[in-house]
């Protein structure tokens, strides 16, 4: 993880960026709003994986950050009538704050206990948003206006919205990339690999874990805020435990021990749900089956499998 990008990775990133930049000009080939959803979920999955794949902490309540940021963005933009940049900021900050609370309560527990605690806390957030007066309960917070960014970029235009989402997603992923390679990141790896040793070396383990938790929550929140603006909707499904499960599946499918693999997982899961959407319970059923197959026989995920292929020793002459 400490190595610089390999040449093939650089080429891959450039090609991907060019393709993504081309999307809004060929709406007859791919639907830009669908790609925006993909981008939001990819950022969400990578933010989640910053905690799981990189930090080694499994949260089962990440929908709380995604969904509450969506609701807060809706509140700021629709109810308070403030511009979208403040909506995004408000949503992200709220998610970060919530992450600090969750983190402070959860990091004392490890492994499955951490998963159970975060799941329970997220369920509490779900019920709170179900009851708060502005959220519209089962109907969700609808018709959130996209507004004009900085007073002169009209986001009602899908092309402008698309570029904002792309820019913020790339910025978020870049931030994750930098965090992973920073001195802070090295300490996090040390804590993940051998917590007592890191502690004995004098590192304030709790503070590092909490910081990572807050970062992951804030970026998940950014993804949720963007989603609220793109679809002009913040709904209960954004805070529901199903979404927490979906993001775990994205991480598992893409590669639980990698940081950017989950973006691949996000693409697959969102695509699957998009095509199965009309079939009701079948989405849940198929998602569950994929989950079970992955856990039983594909635990390294797609990115893990690619890594294994690349590092396989070549047959000698």
């Amino acid at each position: 993880m400490n190595k610089t990008l390999a040449p093939w990775q650089k080429v891959f990133i450039v090609v991907l960026l060019v393709l993504l930049l081309a999307v809004p000009w060929v709406p007859q080939v791919v639907y830009p709003v669908f790609v925006m959803k993909l981008l939001c979920m990819a950022l969400f999955a990578c933010a989640y994986s910053l905690l799981l794949g990189f930090g080694g902490m499994m949260s089962f309540g990440h929908a709380a950050f995604f969904g509450s940021a969506a609701y807060i963005t809706g509140l700021v933009v629709k109810i308070w009538g403030l511009p979208p940049e403040l909506g995004l900021l408000g949503g992200t900050l709220f998610a970060a704050l919530l992450g600090a609370v969750f983190g402070a309560l959860a990091i004392h527990r490890q492994g499955i206990y951490l998963a159970m605690v975060t799941l329970a806390l997220a369920q509490m957030v779900y019920f709170i948003f179900l009851q708060l007066p502005f959220t519209g309960a089962e109907d969700g917070l609808q018709q959130i206006p996209r507004g004009t960014l900085f007073g002169f970029i009209d986001l009602r235009n899908d092309i402008a919205m698309y570029h904002l989402v792309l820019l913020l997603t790339v910025a978020g992923l870049w931030l994750i990339h930098r965090v992973v390679r920073s001195p802070f990141g090295h300490v996090v790896v040390a804590i993940r690999e051998h917590e007592p040793r890191a502690r004995s070396l004098g590192y304030p383990v709790e503070r590092y874990k909490l910081t990572l938790f807050v970062l992951s929550a804030a970026l998940s929140g950014l993804a949720g805020s963007m989603k609220a603006l793109v679809f002009q909707l913040a709904a209960l499904s954004d805070v529901h435990w199903h979404l927490s499960g979906d993001v775990v599946l994205m991480a598992l499918l893409g590669g639980m021990h990698t940081v950017f693999g989950p973006a691949i997982g996000a693409t697959l899961v969102v695509g699957l749900q998009y095509y199965l959407d009309a079939f009701g319970g079948w989405v849940t059923l198929v998602t569950g089956l994929i989950f079970m197959v992955c856990v039983l026989s594909f635990r390294s995920g797609i990115a893990g499998a690619i890594d294994a292929l690349r590092t396989r020793p070549r047959p000698g002459p």
Partner: protein
């Protein structure tokens, strides 16, 4: 009319009773969860889904086979428990020795499969299930009216809990089970068939969940989502009580049920969140849980 805290006594007593009924469901479920976790080191996310399958089992027996409540109470736990055993033998077993997270994820996958499956088959609306004829009616206790069925639920659930406790703590089977929990390799070397014990334990925990499902069928609407909301609450209860002792988890579950019932009376807006608030407070002041053992974090 007698008043307590400015509320008529029947209202207060009624809510405490409702809380106790819920607490009984929590108790049997968290008991099964704790026993499975103790031996298998697996957090069985699918516990709620098997509870739901139990309720559906009772409903289906009545609808398609014409079998009533009492037959369901006997048959459904056997069948669903057997299915649980098959699941453990065929799939869950492959994950032993790996990070326990994978067990949680596999059973989570099973939750989605079961929930999605029942939704595809029966839709999302609740199916009604009648209270059995010989348990209809109420006891009039003077200060409150107690529906006979709810009294039966409390009795049956507590009996199931005590029976499980007795089985684990007082029989030779339970002694082997506890030995396998502490030192699986050593127990196996003494000739105890530990893998079979694991299957048996998992099936037993699932049968308890299915039994609770049948008990709940006449009270809650039988629908595909009824288990998962419950299992998240049970997780919180397990965190609150700690996985240390069997009796501890029963006491915690009943207490939480009553707290929930009382919250409905005094501040109903918070009744869905109060359990999680209690969990947060316990985590702050006693991270290992009320009855958790030292070091078992």
């Amino acid at each position: 009319m007698t008043e307590v805290f400015g509320l008529p006594l029947p209202v207060l007593a009624g809510q405490i009773m409702l809380g106790l009924v819920n607490g009984c469901f929590y108790a049997v479920l968290s008991l099964g969860l704790a026993v499975i976790f103790g031996l298998l080191r697996i957090v069985n996310f699918a516990h709620g889904a098997f509870f739901m399958a139990g309720a559906f089992g009772a409903w289906m027996l009545q609808r398609y086979a014409g079998l009533g409540y009492w037959a369901a109470l006997l048959l459904v736990p056997l069948v669903v428990g057997g299915l649980g055993g098959v699941f453990e033998r065929g799939l869950l077993r492959r994950l032993y020795g790996l990070d326990p997270i994978y067990g949680l994820l596999l059973t989570f996958g099973l939750v989605l499969v079961l929930e999605g499956g029942f939704r595809v088959a029966f839709g999302t609306s609740g199916q009604p299930y009648p209270v059995p004829a010989n348990l209809q009616g109420v006891f009039n206790l003077g200060f409150m009216v107690l529906p006979i069925y709810r009294a039966w639920v409390i009795f049956a659930a507590l009996a199931a809990c005590l029976l499980t406790w007795w089985l684990i703590e007082r029989t030779s089977l339970g002694a082997r089970l506890r030995a396998a929990t502490e030192k699986p390799a050593l127990t196996q070397s003494f000739g105890v068939n530990v893998p079979r014990l694991l299957t048996f334990t998992y099936a037993g925990g699932i049968a308890l969940a299915a039994f609770t499902g049948v008990l709940a069928a006449p009270i809650l609407h039988v629908n595909s989502g009824m288990g998962s909301n419950l299992v998240i609450i049970v997780f919180a209860i397990v965190v609150i009580g700690g996985m240390g002792s069997v009796l501890g988890s029963i006491v915690t579950a009943l207490g939480i049920g009553v707290i929930e019932g009382l919250t409905k009376v005094f501040y109903s807006e918070a009744s869905t969140t109060v359990i999680f608030v209690v969990m947060a407070l316990v985590l702050l002041f006693r991270p290992r849980g009320l009855f958790g053992k030292e070091g078992a974090v």
